[in-house]
């Protein structure tokens, strides 16, 4: 069981992530995705908003999204505190500075705006959408990747 405490190899992790798709479909009837939770939180935080994007959001139908992301937070806690030998660092130390925080805030803004404009993220488009052979998800996934390459190789922000 020693291997559980080590970082999991791709051939364990990848198929397990793929299993999210049938697990959600067959056990809850839901389509795998994460980023709708942002919209849901917006609809909750500003319930009287007149913006159609928040006003027309069906909270009851999407309640499971909040339960799902709460599960992610919980599982991540268990994974790093009980299934790892030492807590693993996921962000570089220089993000714990003022300029680092500004970068995270700006990056987060781009993530939130981008995924909502694109109608899905790496979960909803790249894993779920491609599994369901949606060509818009292929375009989305290529765009995600192009944006990442643009930052890493050209903008180098």
């Amino acid at each position: 069981m020693e291997w559980i405490l080590q970082p999991w190899p791709w051939y364990i992790a990848g198929p397990l992530i793929g299993l999210m798709v049938p697990a959600l479909l067959l056990l809850s009837g839901k389509t795998f995705g994460v980023s709708t939770s942002f919209q849901h939180l917006g609809a909750i935080c500003t319930p009287k908003s007149n913006l159609p994007y928040l006003k027309n959001f069906d909270r009851r139908d999407n309640n499971w999204q909040l339960v799902f992301v709460a599960g992610i937070v919980l599982g991540a806690f268990v994974g790093s505190h009980y299934l790892s030998i030492n807590p693993v660092s996921f962000l570089p130390d220089n993000y714990y500075t003022l300029s680092g925080m500004v970068r995270l805030a700006l990056g987060g803004l781009l993530v939130g705006f981008g995924v909502r404009y694109a109608g899905g993220c790496t979960s909803g488009h790249t894993i779920m959408g491609l599994s369901n052979l949606q060509w818009s998800s292929l375009v989305a996934s290529i765009s995600f990747f192009a944006g990442g390459l643009l930052l890493t190789h050209v903008l180098q922000f």
Partner: protein, 136 residues
């Protein structure tokens, strides 16, 4: 009952995200620099398993455990898929986190990811404001 399943599946997803280090900025960086195959292999094998599962569910018209019809939400194309997708990709490379991993980073104890999360909510509001005027 359904919500309990969702919570457990979410928790399982959170564990896998952390243990595979998909939530690591360093892994994302190595992916975009083409230094490591880890992320590519995870994404490819996840899609392979997911696609096989969707095929089987459709082919045999499987029902949910509550004996309901399985409905898969379609992803219609609009211009935002490209423009929003590019912007998201830039943010992904900066923060080392897409939406699932933002939650997972927070849960794992990288509390500075709360700033990423707050930024993402601001970004969502920005989209909500601009939506009527954006090309779709």
């Amino acid at each position: 009952m359904k919500q309990l399943f969702v919570l457990l599946i979410g928790a399982f997803f959170g564990i896998v995200l952390v243990k595979s280090e998909v939530v690591s900025w360093f892994r994302i960086q190595k992916m975009f620099l083409f230094e490591e195959a880890h992320m590519y292999l995870i994404i490819a094998s996840a899609i392979a398993v997911g696609a096989l599962a969707v095929y089987v569910i459709k082919r045999f018209q499987l029902k949910t455990v509550f004996n309901e019809e399985v409905m898969i939400t379609a992803k219609p194309f609009q211009k935002g898929v490209i423009i929003g997708g590019l912007l998201f990709g830039v943010g992904w490379a900066i923060t080392g986190a897409c939406p699932g991993p933002i939650y997972a980073q927070i849960g794992s104890g990288e509390y500075i990811a709360l700033i990423t999360f707050a930024g993402a909510l601001v970004g969502m509001y920005l989209y909500a404001f601009l939506q009527p005027n954006l090309p779709h």
